[in-house]
């Protein structure tokens, strides 16, 4: 059996469409079977409410008298992009005001407008014959704008990574506070309620489809920027009229140490046309898998620490390397439910009819990394390969001689197999001499917890490690912890002298 969209829309108009939220669907299919569920359910509503940095709005302010061609525009001191005709601007959620403390940004302005508050518009121009005015300051309400159209380039990710942190220090990320030594796991996403998880092949989610956007009626523009459904990271570009939106579903937020972001409620109604759609909307938290990524790795491709399901994440803890680690969500499941519920109410009341995509979104597309034309220098390009080292059983006196002879301040300490076990510096040796000379061997005074790097590490990152730890050299080790070089602060100068290896 198949069901046509016309039939579903007729039922919506007649007020007798059967609408359920996506979290109810697995139970319905268990009870009625796929055919039974297809006969029973007309529409499944989804919802998500989480941090979506890629959010913003186009405004048209109307013309002043005398008129101005706005070149730079600020709303409550947050700069908006004004390179789009005379009295238009795009305000991005993550743009920050440089004058306000605590952190204030585009997201706060958007929320303020939706809440009915006044926003100060300030604009400057060089003045032209047709637009003579050079500056303007005025106070605006949302209703004063001709248009306030939210256009979010990348929302509602299919399924985002969970985050943890294997380093020794707390990280403040867009995934929230990540405690050291995998002290917690943070995730974002509504699991079974998540819009794209309910249609991963983009059969009915595509351009032109009506949606719930921040409390108002919106639509899908098409694939979002960085859409990568082939790798499980599909997302959508969405648009909607801000004048319909409600503060309840549009909230500014600040991620500590990262910056301003915006929590947005997005819900998509899915017409139940055939058993394929019944199956995809019956997805459970258990079926939705994601990787716990180590955000402690300062690179684009970060290692996965564990593979977990949304059921695991929502249970409050997951296992990483045999240890139980507590989880936190950044997105609100309670609000995601509220989105799906409200959308359900709209459709039951005949306020929203469904539409099929006017253009399909490619479910196989994959994002590509940036093409970088300038070579990022790596540690291997500037490190010193002639490593002067010492073994742990040598006397401190020998270490002192070696430091003097080779005019270095750092000696990596090796064990019998040539593996790095510690480091000593001229400071350690001097201290040992001053402290009555009781300590005899290198192993008595060496630092065992060595801060180190690898030859593949970008120099930028290695330099940050030096700075953060207030040290001046890093042993460079290979995968088996053998020392292959040493990077000292002095070597960083090679980047400017053109002496690095190509």
């Amino acid at each position: 059996m198949e069901k046509s969209l016309d039939l579903i829309n007729t039922r919506i108009r007649d007020g007798n469409a059967r609408v359920v939220t996506a979290d109810e669907m697995p139970g319905i299919v268990d009870e009625l079977g796929e055919e039974g569920a297809l006969a029973e359910v007309d529409v499944v509503t989804t919802g998500t409410f989480g941090a979506m940095c890629s959010t913003g709005a186009f405004f048209n302010f109307g013309h002043a008298d005398p008129p101005i061609r706005m070149e730079r525009v600020w709303l409550n001191d947050v700069e908006a992009y004004a390179g789009i005709a005379a009295v238009d601007a795009y305000l991005g959620a993550t743009q920050e005001a440089d004058t306000k403390n605590p952190l204030y940004g585009g997201a706060h302005v958007l929320e303020e407008l939706v809440a009915g508050g006044t926003v100060e518009l300030r604009a400057t121009s060089r003045g032209t014959d047709c637009y003579p005015r050079r500056s303007i300051t005025t106070e605006l309400l949302l209703e004063d704008m001709n248009q306030a159209i939210m256009v979010n380039p990348r929302n509602a990710f299919q399924c985002y990574n969970a985050a943890s942190n294997a380093t020794d220090r707390t990280l403040n990320t867009y995934m929230g506070t990540l405690l050291p030594r995998c002290g917690n796991v943070s995730y974002s996403g509504a699991g079974t309620l998540s819009p794209l998880a309910n249609d991963p092949n983009f059969r009915v989610i595509g351009s032109g489809v009506p949606i719930f956007l921040a409390g108002g009626e919106g639509m899908i523009v098409g694939e979002g920027t960085q859409h990568s459904a082939g790798g499980g990271f599909g997302n959508l570009m969405v648009a909607g009229d801000m004048k319909q939106m409600r503060q309840e579903f549009l909230r500014a937020a600040v991620m500590n140490g990262y910056g301003v972001t915006m929590y947005v409620g997005v819900g998509i109604p899915i017409p139940v046309l055939d058993t394929g759609i019944v199956r995809s909307t019956a997805v459970r938290d258990e079926d939705i898998l994601t990787d716990v990524i180590d955000y402690g790795t300062p690179r684009r491709d970060r290692p996965s620490l564990a593979k977990v399901s949304y059921a695991d994440l929502k249970s409050g803890s997951v296992e990483i390397g045999g240890e139980t680690v507590r989880t936190s969500s950044l997105s609100s499941y309670r609000k995601a439910r509220a989105v799906a519920q409200e959308l359900k109410g709209w459709i039951e009341a005949g306020k929203m009819e469904l539409a099929l995509p006017t253009r399909r979104i490619d479910p196989t597309k994959r994002v590509r990394p940036m093409r970088e034309t300038a070579v990022t220098p790596r540690v291997r390009d500037i490190m010193n390969r002639q490593v002067i080292s010492i073994t742990e059983d040598e006397e401190i006196r020998v270490a002192a001689k070696r430091l003097l002879k080779d005019e270095t301040n750092h000696l990596p300490v090796l064990d019998g197999n040539g593996t790095l076990v510690g480091i000593i510096t001229t400071y350690d040796v001097s201290k040992a001499v001053v402290n009555d000379g009781r300590l005899k061997q290198v192993k008595d005074i060496m630092t065992r917890n060595v801060i180190k790097t690898t030859s593949d590490e970008p120099v930028d990152i290695a330099a940050q490690i030096l700075e953060r730890n207030n040290i001046s050299a890093l042993p460079v080790v290979d995968a088996t912890n053998r020392v292959v070089g040493i990077l000292s602060a002095i070597d960083l100068g090679k980047l400017f002298g053109g002496r690095r290896r190509r």
Binding site: L179, S329, L330, S332, K335
Partner: protein, 132 residues
């Protein structure tokens, strides 16, 4: 019940120079759990946990010894207008103060709080604050 003790360490006879907590434990026999202590040269602040039934007695005795005592009833406060029930605070809290109820609403057991302040920084919506 949690009590926040504040004392001066300026003078030789100030309570901050004396083993006041140990003395109160010895005299009253009440087991005091020290959860946080921040003591520098001029002043100190200690958060202690005592059984509810003994709180009055401990408090009175500490005050007699010159310690300023504050009862911490809602150590961490949640602004319901700002909170969106995301749960970002849950896993950063060392005391498991936060959890979800069956409706995925945030539940706050503030009696467990030791005032470390991690949740306040971690909250994306500025919904959490420390009492006083």
């Amino acid at each position: 019940m949690k009590l926040l003790l504040a004392f001066s360490r300026k003078g030789k006879t100030d309570p901050g120079r004396e083993p006041v907590i140990a003395r109160v434990v010895k005299e009253t026999g009440v087991l005091i759990n020290v959860e946080k202590a921040n003591i520098d040269s001029m002043a100190g602040e200690v958060l202690i946990d005592v059984p509810d039934k003994d709180a009055d007695q401990v408090r009175r005795r500490l005050e007699e010894l010159g310690v300023f005592v504050r009862v911490m009833e809602n150590a961490v406060a949640r602004d319901e207008e700002e909170c969106v029930d995301c749960g970002a605070c849950i896993s950063v809290c060392p005391q498991e103060v936060f959890s979800f109820d069956e409706e995925w609403r945030l539940r706050v057991s503030s009696e467990r709080c030791v005032l470390c302040g991690k949740c306040i920084q971690a909250c994306p919506h500025g919904a959490l604050s420390q009492q006083g």
